[in-house]
Amino acid sequence: MNIINIENISRIFQVGSEEVRALDNVSLRIDKNEYVAIMGPSGSGKSTLMNILGCLDTPTSGRYDFKEIDVSDMSDNELAEIRNREIGFVFQTFNLLPRSNAFHNVELPLIYSGIASAKRKEMARETLIDVGLEDRMLHKPSELSGGQRQRVAIARALVTHPSIILADEPTGNLDSKTGEDIMSLFNDIHKKGNTIILVTHEEYIAKRAARIVRLRDGRIEKDEIISN
């Protein structure tokens, strides 16, 4: 089943009097349960691509079909709904609410979904157990290690059972051992049937995926399936 289909997407930014083409006619298809890494050096447009795939940003031109529905022209509110239900973000800097505990952080997307209190507490609890944080639920981010924080962020991304997980340099702020733990976790998440899109500039991280899309100067240079 096709989840993401973008055709000739361009994204142009106005910087003063100049135009910057962050993305230039990019087309891409991603199906359910794929594990895709988007790679490229700094300035290649991978962050911009991620923002567009994640419905945080709209393309200047081109078409984006998400689960076969055209989202390129959707309103802010409609995009917000899609982000809430279909997309789970994992950021390099974790981006947790610093003064809410792990449980509340994971609960938040469910609150925005309009899910009733008892149900969402149950869902949050389950998801936190799934990522191995059963006994850290009431800790605040400042009381958690980097790896644990990222797990909370992953739990928050998973709790709404989204169609895609979008991870932007998820191990960027972690040491190599913890980074390895997180990448195993992504492996497990992928095995359970989730669709994962990983953005990175590290070759060894990208190789953990099943397919690598390489970007350079806003265009796709190479798109290869790799054997794992």
Partner: protein
Amino acid sequence: MSKYIFELKEGLLIAVRALRVNKTRAMLTTLGIIIGICSVALMATVINGIDIAFEKGISSLGSDNLYIDKWSWFTNEEFWKMRNRKNLKLSDYEKYKALAQLPTAIAPTLWNIKKIQFEDNYIEGALVTGTTNDYLDTTNFEFSKGRFFSAIESKSSRDVAVLGSEVADHLFESRNALDEYVKLNGIKYKVVGVLEKQGSNLLGNFNPDKQIYIPIGTVFKHFENASFRSIAIVVRSRNTSMVSATKEEAEGLMRRVRGLRYDEENDFSINQQEGLTRNYDQTVGVIKIAGLFITGLALLVGAIGIMNIMFVSVKERTREIGIRKAIGAKKRTILGQFITESAIICLIGGLIGLILAVLLSMAVDKFLPTSVQFGTVILAIEISLITGVVSGLAPAYSAAKMDPVEALRYE
């Protein structure tokens, strides 16, 4: 509808959590509102107190009474014109009384300010009213002891007196004043009655409890220049609906009694308590508006402070707003969150300000009359909420329209 209530509840939850997390800032923000609401509420309690005190004060004047006097209580007419009028004489009163049909009671009054003595105690500046026994029927007097002077005592100008509650308390303290003799203008008067406490001290020098009533004849007998002064005539109408008819009759009769030609103006005035109320409303009304305006300014300052701090808060939480939006918060959710935060801060501040106002009003009560009413409480809460929503609006809007990508990049 239930979805809206759900959103409101969730909004409240998020807002309360956010506030709990930023306690210090929330408290500082609240301070502005506390002061603002406290001033407005305190002002309202003073205004209510003055209104009530006024009503109590003039109730002793009687709403169905007319007061025929040389002077008008309200200077619509020129002062010199009134000053040059002929005094009202006792004979005017007697002639009017003989002719008038509509009133239920008519009494002459002659006022003085005198010192009253009993043994070693004395009270200065008491209002001495010389009048007849009919005066009682123009009032709502209640007696704590004794009675008003009788018709005989009145006609024969006996040296008897009825004391107001403050005079009696001051001169006799806990002793029984009845049948004792007080000294007034060098003459001893026997106390035949003491009045219940009537009104409060509001109307400036007019304290209805600091009075003494004596037969008018004794005033003419014992007071030096009594015959050079003008009397006033108190007239009681049968009921409120008869007041204007009674007033018309009085005007006609007094013109005759005073020998006025058809083309001459009245050389007397007929005053009413209602006029007092109107005058009060006009004068005090202006003061009330000014007072509320000034305290309103304090509130405005508080509101601006809140808006300012909310802006700072929004800026500081840019990253957080980006995160919320990435997770799926809609514009109106963010808007609602921040407006709710602002409203809660203002509500809490308003309640604290209200409690403070109630406590302060007890202290202020020593100088000015105050009255805490339920309406004031409701008003304070309403104003708090409205202030919260209005001051939170601009900051909340700026939060809502943040671009999530930019916001997430914010350090």
